[in-house]
Symmetry: C2
Subunit: 176 residues, 2 copies
């Protein structure tokens, strides 16, 4: 594999020296949910069992796979990481993390029951009220920013008001 | 390169038989704009100079690159394909095309001047009123659906009202 600018292109690409195949590197989508238990005003978080950020808390999320839609990815990750069943309520946040070539999407979600359980990539899953969120022990800036905005918008959301899509660019490592 | 399920995974991945590197294949983001010239109620379209769909009309759009944000990708593609300067006005549409492993995003955009010109990937760029849109000669379903919704929402948008994010899953090849 060598780094060259293919004909009719203007960027360095990884090209196989043997067969000439261009292996494009493009940003990946990381997709998750904000699983909300309305009765007790709680959100479901997962303690990560894997690196990076093992032992820190996150919203259920992961890399979108081929052959699925963004909503299917959100549902799948919520099931895989938290064993939870949710109804999706619309896209809430789009966060760019260009230095790691990622775009994160979070969907609002209604938790359908309390029969959740940690998946293989989680040490533990539990519900948190806003006052209980472990802000200092969240895994990623995209998670903390999304949760901050979610609670800021919660009054409007509870009244059924539409809120604008939350968009943010995170250009370098931030304090969580 | 061989197709195997790596340890701690549950899907077939392309793995290098020599070095063991896993080459993940994930959906790609295609990002573009709806460049709008308010004074004459016109949208800017580009006639494609490249396959697929050479000779058909499209909104300026293309693959998001590493190290950029979704908004930077939208601006870059609009400049590369149409030589146009735009101010972005927010995300308008998110369309899943799972059978080709793509997610398309279109931003509303205010065309800042009329000094546009076809880039190397366009045969021609021109402004169209709604009644002039070449509906039968649009390049992709994502473009025709986005334009249909844009014109349906135009009244509300012109009055400064917020409209919900347009989301659509296109699961197979549709008639444009």
């Amino acid at each position: 594999m060598s780094l060259v600018i293919p004909e009719d292109d203007n960027r360095l690409r990884h090209v196989c020296a043997d067969c000439g195949t261009v292996h494009y590197q493009n940003p990946k989508l990381v997709i998750g949910t904000i699983p909300w238990w309305q009765a007790d005003q709680q959100v479901l978080l997962c303690k990560r069992a894997i690196e990076p950020r093992r032992g820190y808390w996150t919203l259920p999320a992961g890399f979108m796979e081929n052959n699925e839609t963004t909503e299917e990815a959100a549902q799948r990750e919520t099931t895989e990481e938290a064993g939870a069943r949710v109804e999706l309520l619309g896209l809430f946040a789009l966060l760019n993390v260009p230095h790691v070539h990622q775009v994160h999407l979070f969907y609002r979600a209604r938790l359908l029951d309390l029969d959740f359980a940690a998946g293989t990539e989680s040490l533990e899953c539990r519900l948190f009220r806003e006052s209980e969120i472990p802000w200092q022990d969240l895994a990623f800036p995209t998670v903390s920013r999304t949760l901050q905005r979610f609670f800021a918008d919660l009054g409007a959301l509870t009244e059924g008001q539409a809120v604008p899509l939350y968009t943010l660019d995170i250009r370098k490592r931030l304090q969580v």
